[in-house]
Amino acid sequence: MNAQKITRSLLREAGIGVALLLLSVVFIFFAPNFATFANLRNIFTQISINTVIAIGMTFVILLAGIDLSVGSVLALCAVVAGLIISNPSLPVGVAILLSILSSVAIGMVCGLFNGFVSERWKIASFVVTLGMLNIARGLALEVSHSRTIFMFPKAFTMAGDLTLLGIPFIFLIAVTLVVLAHFILSKTVFGRLIYAIGNNEEAVRLSGHNPMKYKIIAFVICGATVGIAAIMYMMRLQIASPILGVGFELSAIAAVVIGGTSMLGGKGSLIGTFLGACIIGVLNNGLLLIGLGDFARQIITGFIIILAVILDTYRYRLSKALST
């Protein structure tokens, strides 16, 4: 009974996992060095940042919203954090702590702005976050004078290369956040309300809750994950540049949607989002290892994204076929 339930719920959420599996199998055969430990570690590192942003994006999309500003806000967070951390007049420990806090705080403030404005005036979050996309990018360029910031303390950059049992530290952060957020969404009252509002906001309102509050919080959460992602980025690349993050919103939304979350809200899961991010990462990695030309790679990427999601629609049949 219970085992059956778990399988069923896994297949419901993890339909896209089948696509991921198939893709991996193909690459194991055709992409040299794909199935090496070192390469696996690379993939882990490469999907970490997108995964973290996609976590926040999942909250927003579950509420039928969208956040286009994540890439720009990431740049703004990184630039400010970079200026703080590379400030030689601060003690290293203080600088690191302060930069992490300020990055998360800036992300949250931007999220608050997005959430508050779109809820207060009932404006499509597409427009508000499009505005924020411009505002945050402009600010990031202004603050940094469009210079790349570098020379971070060793104690900080070390973290970027840190591994635990061979698993990159930043991937561990990402996985921890996935687990935490999955837990919040599936087990807490807050999480259930997120789903409820995404399902039928009017019904929630009639039941005496204030959907506005939760929607704003979702944007703030999204901002916070962006702030964290900015720090991870800085650990990984040891720079902070105002032009980074262009197009990140598309990757993050893609991870969420490929993972099965409906853009109309109320339906979806974080496990799906994580698998979506994995698909994108594995695809980028595997196709490069196969050694295709740039253009062919781009074309094939397009087809595989579509195929993966088509495959997902056949998961019921597939799950039956696999179980017999």
């Binding site: 040299p32 060095n33 090496t36 070192a38 390469n39 690379n42 590192t45 490469q46 990018r137 360029l141 004078h145 469009s146 210079r147 790349t148 570098f150 020379m151 970027g160 290369d161 980025y233 990984r236 690349l237 040891q238 720079i239 540049s241 105002p242 032009i243 980074l244 262009v246 980028n284 990695n285 490069l288 290892l289 050694g291 740039d294 253009f295």
Partner: protein, 291 residues
């Protein structure tokens, strides 16, 4: 004020100011305008490097505004030609800098073949730094080329320059892949390529932003035996060169580039006739420069 109105107006059409290379260039131009004081400068940047559209709009807006001189760094060597022709027809002096307009397109549009161009030879720069890499890793060395945006002129020219070095030193190009000028993408691409081709000895990046990503990829893989070269001489890369993590880059004296163009424009405004390619200097930057 009335006095300001009499000053000639110079419109500066830049590429993406988000790129620190162009930002420095713009700052150089602004500083020059301030010091010189004989003209009014209106600089305009774009949202991204491939944003031809905004550039054309900016050109048209300058024409509507009837500025005296337009100094333009085309985002597309062909796409900008029609707009340049419109400006020239409207009696505006146009100086082409940084990226040269396409000769054939100019001919087609009825612009003279010896239309003034102020700028460096990108291919030559790439060749210089490529040669330095070739010398360092030796004949037959295995390399990656990390390209700029496919379709972008300076990306094409730099690749062409690299290829000349490749030929000279009989280098073995394992992969030539785009990272769209971006640090993050370069990091991902190089990381993955290292997995595929562990035997690589050198990496040629078409700009310095990508060098940053490539060097981090080598760091993360614990590779100290791979030499990286870039283009643009941005501060973080100078730091990398000092620390021996990057072999060399090319300095195009960015801050002076736009000012050179403006100077040429002002001279033409006074009646001088300038034509052809006014090459601006290039310099190889290596660790030796920081001793």
């Amino acid at each position: 004020s009335a006095q300001a109105k009499k000053k000639p107006v110079v419109g500066l059409v830049m590429k993406s100011l988000a790129n620190e290379f162009f930002k420095q260039m713009e700052e150089g131009a602004v500083a020059f305008a301030k010091k010189d004081g004989s003209f009014e400068l209106i600089p305009v940047g774009m949202n991204s490097e491939s944003d031809i559209d905004t550039q054309i709009n900016a050109m048209d807006n300058f024409i509507a505004k009837k500025v005296n001189v337009i100094v333009v760094a085309p985002a597309d060597s062909v796409g900008m030609v029609a707009a340049v022709k419109r400006a020239v027809d409207a009696g505006i002096i146009v100086v082409n800098f940084d990226v040269t307009l396409n000769k054939e397109a100019m001919k087609n549009a009825g612009l003279p073949a010896d239309f003034l161009f102020v700028g460096v030879d990108n291919a030559e720069g790439a060749e210089i730094v490529g040669d330095h890499l070739g010398k360092t890793i030796g004949k037959g060395g295995k390399v990656f080329i990390i390209e700029g945006n496919p379709g972008a002129d300076n990306a094409n020219q730099r690749k062409e320059g690299f290829m000349r070095s490749v030929k000279k030193y009989n280098l073995n190009v394992l992969s030539s892949t785009t990272a769209h000028w971006e640090t993050e993408e370069a990091n991902t691409v190089v990381t993955n390529l290292l997995t595929k081709y562990p035997s690589v000895k050198g990496i040629m990046c078409a700009n310095d932003s990508m060098v940053l990503g490539a060097v981090r990829a080598l760091d993360a893989a614990g590779r100290k035996d791979v030499q990286v070269v870039g283009f643009d001489n941005i501060l973080p890369v100078q730091d990398l060169i000092k620390r021996g993590k990057c072999l060399a880059t090319i300095d195009q004296f960015g801050p002076d580039l736009a000012s050179n163009g403006i100077r040429a424009g002002l001279r033409m405004l006074k009646g001088e006739k300038l034509t052809g390619w006014q090459k601006t200097p290039l310099r190889l930057v290596t660790k030796a420069d920081f001793k």
